[in-house]
């Protein structure tokens, strides 16, 4: 195997090792830090911290953000009457400041809505068949229709019993869409095709000309409305039918901008958040009678960042808090990692359902270590009576891929036996 034939397997070994070795190293030596949750109290109008310490004891510590004052769990619940109102009413400790809600808990209940977006949602490919619910059914619960639809050069309904195309519905909906200026085929479709929701709002569709449409079925007839996007390039929409009927869902646009699509005239309201990267981050939106909370969790290379935004009912920023959690590792092991692993290889799925090979965590320090390994390697080659000139490519590989290349070469290039000196 003196020719170049050995290099494909060596390269694959380098890539596989550069995926697994740093991962195993992290698993063995990383320490889990404290888990911290931050909430904005409508009573004190400040942020309150809940810390779950690392280790076996998971007893929560409730405190102010500067950790100077700690609270009991009972006191902590008083700061969040919209969450713990049942306890507070039972104990008779509902805060006076918000007393109007004490005897009106239905307002609290009906003002709750939660949206959760995780980057994986955008990277998920659908099967491509969707049910179109009757959104004005005379029955209170939603029922699955007998037909599912697909989009190609028309909106095609397939009868699930016969597995045949339903020409009537296909013609009706395709014609209605074309009349509204819809251009086939569609590019993106967003909806919540489940029966466990209070009502159905159908689907939001980006057509071939990037026009945005709202489509649903009302009494068997198509309801189609073109939505003016004002230039927003819609990357993803998280639809959430909620009895509050304030917004249809969360819309992710370009340049890290995020919106809510409101019921009121299909208006886009931009959320006052910055640096939300929908390809990597997680986003929570929750509501209560007085505030809207938006939490963004970002996993960066060396730390996790949680940013909490609080807005008023008009989505104007009231308060903001940001916390950073560096990935803990004892400094010696951290330095060692930076010195021995020159890079990490993995399959990235950023913002798409395709996997792309990616190299990250490039450590410049490791290349000094690589140089040292190359020198030792050449000494070994000389000592084992081999020709250095035959090992130039190997040396270059070790210089670039360090320990990964060294293991791969020693495994597959048969270097562990000594040649006899001539």
């Amino acid at each position: 195997m003196n020719s170049l034939k050995k290099y494909p397997i060596i390269i694959i070994t380098i890539l596989v090792l550069s995926n697994f070795l740093p991962y195993f190293y992290d698993m063995a030596l990383s320490k889990r830090g404290n888990y911290v949750k931050v909430g904005f109290s409508p009573v004190t109008e400040t942020f309150i911290k809940t810390t779950y310490p690392a280790g076996a004891s998971r007893k929560a510590i409730y405190s102010t953000m500067d950790d100077k004052t700690t609270f009991t769990r009972e006191k902590f619940e008083e700061f969040f009457p919209f969450t713990y109102f049942s306890d507070l009413i039972r104990w008779g400790t509902f805060p006076e400041k918000l007393a109007s809600f004490e005897n009106n808990t239905s307002v609290i209940m009906s003002s709750k809505q939660r949206l959760y977006f995780i980057h994986r949602l955008i990277a998920k490919k659908e099967v491509g068949l969707y049910p179109l619910f009757e959104s004005q059914s005379k029955f209170s619960g939603l029922e699955l229709p007998e037909e599912f639809f697909r989009f190609n050069n028309k909106m095609e309904f397939i009868n699930t019993t016969t597995n045949k195309i339903e020409p009537k519905q296909t013609k009706l909906f395709t014609k209605a869409l074309k009349e509204k200026g819809f251009s086939f085929p569609m590019k993106k479709i967003f909806g919540q095709p489940v029966t466990r929701k209070p009502f159905d709002e159908g689907y939001f569709i980006v057509d071939n000309n990037n026009k945005f449409f709202h489509l649903k079925k009302q009494e068997g007839q198509p309801f189609i409305k073109e939505i003016k996007t004002n230039g927003i390039d819609i990357k993803y929409m998280l639809v959430d039918e909620n009895s509050r009927m304030e917004f249809y869902g969360l819309v992710l646009g370009e340049n890290k901008r995020t919106y809510l699509l409101m019921y009121d005239d299909y208006e886009f309201v931009e959320l006052p958040i910055d640096n939300f990267d929908y390809t990597t981050d997680r986003l929570y939106v929750s509501t209560n009678p007085l505030y809207r909370y938006i939490d963004v969790d970002s996993n960066l290379e060396d730390k996790e960042v949680t940013t909490n935004y609080v807005t008023n009912l008009d989505y104007e920023l009231v308060a903001k808090n940001s916390l950073e959690f560096p990935y803990e590792k004892e400094s010696f092991f951290k330095k060692l990692e930076e010195s021995i692993f020159p890079f990490q290889f993995y399959f990235s799925k950023k913002g798409s359902y395709f996997y792309y090979p990616k190299i990250s965590n490039i450590n410049e320090k490791a290349f000094i270590f690589n140089l040292l390994i190359v020198l030792l390697y050449l000494v070994y080659i000389k000592y084992s009576s081999r020709r250095i000139s035959e090992h130039i490519i190997n040396s270059i590989l070790i210089l670039s891929a360090g320990i990964y290349a060294l293991i791969a070469i020693f495994t597959f290039a048969r270097l562990l036996y000594f040649r006899k000196k001539i």
């Binding site: 596989v16 491509g128 397939i158 095709p193 597959f412």
Partner: protein
């Protein structure tokens, strides 16, 4: 001569191939009847929804395991007997080029795996197409194809393990094939996830193939390290 070689390979792998064909036939019949049974007892729209949302009704995990394990088991039956009595070297005396023999052995194995995979695919396609639109078959196929590639990878790596005389390479190829399979199996969970991973397989399979080629040569040269 080639006919005789095919007959010899067939004799070695006949039992395991027939075993897999029987297992596959049983599981495909089970797959077909579980589908038609589910459609008899549930509203078809519920089944559709279940497939589209939860991916639960079409349980092809058993088929995936069968396809994945055909590769290594076939390699074991094809090469272990040759290696255990050092019979592989006898092939050198045949009036055929050594390179041809190496290609022949591996192509035989790859063909058997591919043949079983294609037969399974045709039956799955016909079963699914009877009840569902083509989208469902595409979704199922997106998971199926990865297990086929993993099977080919495991076939080649086990062949290398058996034939290559170097213990270091034996350990190396075992570790590498386990880690590579893990890397790809990690992404097989749901429909369509990681479908473009297929594009990386030809490179991996080619590198395994080159190493297998090298292993044959080492073996026939009589290296024992």
């Amino acid at each position: 001569m080639i006919k005789a070689l095919i007959k010899k390979e067939w004799k070695k792998t006949k039992n395991i191939t027939i075993f897999f064909v029987i297992i596959l036939t049983i599981s495909l019949i089970h797959f077909y009847f579980s589908l038609s049974n589910a459609l008899e007892h549930n509203a078809p729209s519920d089944i559709f929804q279940d497939i589209v949302r939860k991916e639960g009704t079409i349980d092809i995990s058993f088929l995936l395991y069968i396809i994945t394990f055909i590769g290594p088991l076939l390699a074991f039956f094809q090469f272990s007997s040759e290696v255990s009595k050092a019979r592989l070297r006898i092939h050198l005396h045949l009036p055929l080029k050594q390179n041809f023999l190496i290609h022949f052995f591996s192509i035989y194995g790859v063909s058997v795996i591919s043949f079983i995979f294609i037969i399974a695919n045709v039956i799955v396609f016909l079963s699914l197409n009877t009840f569902f639109p083509i989208e469902i078959f595409y979704a199922v196929e997106s998971k199926f194809l990865i297990s086929y590639f993993i099977s080919l990878g495991l076939y080649l790596s086990l062949a290398i393990f058996l034939i290559n005389p170097s213990k270091v390479i034996k350990i190396g190829i075992t570790t590498l094939s386990i880690l590579t399979s893990l890397l790809f199996l990690d992404h097989v969970g749901r429909f369509f996830v990681g479908q473009n991973l297929y594009f990386y397989f030809p490179f991996i399979l080619l590198s395994y193939y080159l190493l297998l080629f090298h292993s044959f040569k080492l073996y026939t040269k009589g290296y024992v390290k």
